[in-house]
Amino acid sequence: MSTTNLPPESLDTFPKLLAHHVEVRGDRPAMREKDYGIWQTSTWKEVAAEVRDFACGLAALGLQRGERVAIVGDNRPRLYWAMTAAQALGCVPVPLYQDSVAEEMAFVLDHAEARFAVVEDQEQVDKLLDLKERCRTLETIIYDDPRGLRNYDQPFLHDYEAVQKEGQTFLKSHPDFYEQAVAAGRGSDISVILYTSGTTGRSKGVVLTAAGCINAARDTVAFDHLNDRDQVLAYLPPAWVGDHYLNYAQGLVAGFCMACPESADTVEQDLREIGPTFYFAPPRVFENLLTRVMIRMEDAGRMKRALFHHFIALAKRHGEKILNGEKVPLPARLHYALGELLIYGPLKNVLGFSNIRVAYTAGEAIGPDLFSFYRSIGLNLKQLYGQTEAFLYVTAQPDGAIFADTVGPAIPNVDIRIEEGGEVLFKSPGQFQGYYKDDENTAEALTPDGYVRTGDAGFFDEATGHLKIIDRAKDVGRMQDGSLFAPKYVENKLKFFPFIKEAVVFGHERPFATAFINIDMEAVGNWAERNSIQYGSYQELAALPQIYAVIGENVEQVNRDLAQDSKLAGSQVRRFLVLHKELDADDGELTRTRKVRRRIVNERYAELIAALYDGRTEVHASVEVTFEDGRKGRLDGDLTIADVETFPPVQPAIRQAAE
């Protein structure tokens, strides 16, 4: 069933799609940006003109077909337009994470051999000027925001608008240049190279073709019935596949409007204002949001709190069924409608979720309770499973068939195969061509018959036919007694507690499982304030005995849950410690997308892990940290190790799929 007006299949590059939207919906909004206090809006026509001028300007500056153009910055319309402009010229945009450290950035720039870079502002210009020595190919830098750059007199620095002006002049002498350049584009052209921040080692450039990107996006646009009345907020890093797919590619396919926030600090406010209809956020965001909802409700008056909890409990019983269109008795339906008026509606409004038709989460497993919470208040939150290598989607849950512990069936035109060892393989229209200039890794990632290895372990749930992901294939281990050890599974369960921000569980080839815990500064700090407990720093807060007590209870609860499942009962956590520092991407402990880098944690905290297993109750920790400005220092502290009760496995009972 297709209610969506998909563009003709012959349009196989993004610039061609742009031209199509100018024809079909030229005066509809294509892009909004909160700037100067209001949502400055550009129609498809205006966008096309901006893109054309900039593309011609790039050509005038000497950009040649096939070259890579680095794009560095936040979600700014002009940077997106620069991507399309590059693609129009048959060049390849390479978006970079704007907050990545100099070394990472230098590597990517060098590896992609970018001669042109389009950047956001002075900060990025300064960064690139520093790197210019090391990146021999970099020749021209174009900046969007001229603020503070007045006195920079380097000849290779150009103002975005000046480039566009030049493009207009160029266009006068080459009136057909742009149309010809766009027409020369082929679906087989490389559309974009996305560098993955990879859990291990150097970044790899994922090469995606234009036709692949567009075909993949067409499938999901049809799958979720997206159309040109939809609106999204582009707040995720443009260098991440999620943003490039969900907002850029889907937007150009479906013709919907992409809104850019005013700044990273105002995303929440901007989300409330825009009220998107399609929304994506990693589970972490939903989790933080729920934590804050609960904390704020703690401060509400008694009446309001009672009302809130009453209706949330009601939603828990009936909300999901109502959302799934299942049978619910009329009184409960009416009761729920009252709840929608008094609690759910206002709550979604304050969070900016009122207009959302489809919301997705992905990237890691989401706690079932967390997932149910949002669905029960009427937010159509679904899970998908995907990868940069697939150009995002591999599986996604269709409306009405949602299960907290699955990621849904393969989406149309995607083929999935489970390998002997449990690893998930797929073949999809959007799948990548290979890693850029890296045949070795490409060969490793692809099977001889053209399937892509995901590196994740999973299986198809028999009852639902949906894919279930347990963990990274290489992280799924065995306890010493040979029973299954799925650290991520346990960590996710731990992280669902409000005080626990991050957890790292150890146990592979060990007699029992142990864990590092990171407390959630906001939640714990709030709790400490309410109980008038004095603390000076994160470290002090983390070491409080009261915190250990609360977290001990949390771990015990998880153990009780794990004992329900005979397969995973062996993964119960017997000992844990609360880390004195937050795991941090700047120290390499997390990826930019805030996933734990297990290997590095293992290395950096070897002493602590040893202590967890040798029976010590206290251990001295000393670890190197990187401050925001790049300086390094050491953080010292004595950490307590606590023991937790474990439970014997319960005899396996029949689990219900739609729990």
Partner: protein, 283 residues
């Protein structure tokens, strides 16, 4: 004497923070404002005695001196709030008769105050919009109807104010009542209001007083940016000698209502009399 501590600081400061420094010596020729032999007294108490100096177009001019040296009185004289008993003020080549502050404003002199003088009952945006009042033209009847010419004018000036808001990075507090803002931000809003007047001469009375190091750095950057981007001439009073030496082109030193020294920062710093006044020798 409290000035001692601040006076001692700059020498170390100078080398350490290279972040916001006016590094090259700039040359200015055109005199924008000249005060000559100004004397001001309040019922027998002399606040200023025979002060003469000039402010040149495009420069950042600092007025420094110990507490009670008459710095603020000097600014008050320049923008017409006090009327000196003696002396002349020449602004843009014209000798000025007695004038009220709003006339000074009309001629392009804007200022900020030592103790923030914002309109507490209004939002940040409205405060900045008041800076545009001189440039707004529609009459009362059109304002009563609002739609049409008045609305277009409102929008035009709103656009200008939004640019200043963007420039000073105060987007997040646009609609916040200024009374609720922390002190540092209030100072920034006050600067924004003065900038909204598109002044030729901007008088800043201790723009960094009561700020922490980070806020001071921001403010320094803004002052330099304003001078650079808009070409606004700036006269500022400041206690933090490090700041003064870093950002100003020329410095005039007052003490007990008299002028002690006048010249580039380096010269003034070495001046015997200035050192004596600041160290309190002989008092």
């Amino acid at each position: 004497m409290s000035a001692v501590a601040t006076a001692a600081a700059p020498n170390q400061n100078q080398q350490e923070d290279g972040g916001v420094t006016q590094n090259t010596a700039r040359v200015f020729d055109e005199v924008l404002l000249e005060v000559k032999d100004i004397s001001l007294a309040f019922g027998g108490v002399k606040a200023l005695t025979n002060i003469s100096f000039d402010i040149r177009k495009g420069e950042i001019r600092a007025i420094i001196g110990p507490n009670g040296a008459g710095k603020t009185s000097m600014l008050n004289v320049i923008n017409g709030f006090y009327h000196p008993q003696d002396g002349t003020i020449t602004y843009k080549g014209q000798v000025r008769r007695k004038m009220r502050p709003h006339n000074a404003a009309k001629q392009g002199i804007a200022r900020t105050f030592q103790n923030v003088a914002l309109f507490k009952g209004m939002s940040t945006l409205d405060n900045i919009m008041t800076g545009r009042l001189l440039k707004m033209r529609t009459n009362m009847l059109l304002q009563a109807i609002y739609w049409g010419p008045n609305q277009r004018e409102e929008i035009r000036h709103r656009e200008y104010c939004e640019q200043i808001i963007d420039f000073l990075e105060i987007q997040a507090i646009r609609k916040t009542p200024v009374g609720r803002l922390p002190y540092g931000l209030q100072k920034r809003v006050e600067l924004a209001r003065a900038l909204a007047m598109e002044p030729e001469l901007l008088l800043l009375d201790e723009p960094m007083a009561g700020m922490n190091v980070e806020e001071k750095e921001d403010m320094c950057r803004f002052v330099l940016d304003v001078n650079e981007e808009f070409g606004t001439t700036i006269a500022l009073i400041e206690h933090d000698m490090g700041v003064v030496m870093d950002i100003s082109d020329r410095v005039v030193v007052l003490d007990y209502g008299r002028k002690l020294a006048d010249g580039p920062p380096d010269e003034v710093r070495r001046d015997e009399e200035v050192i004596r006044a600041y160290l309190g020798v002989g008092h």
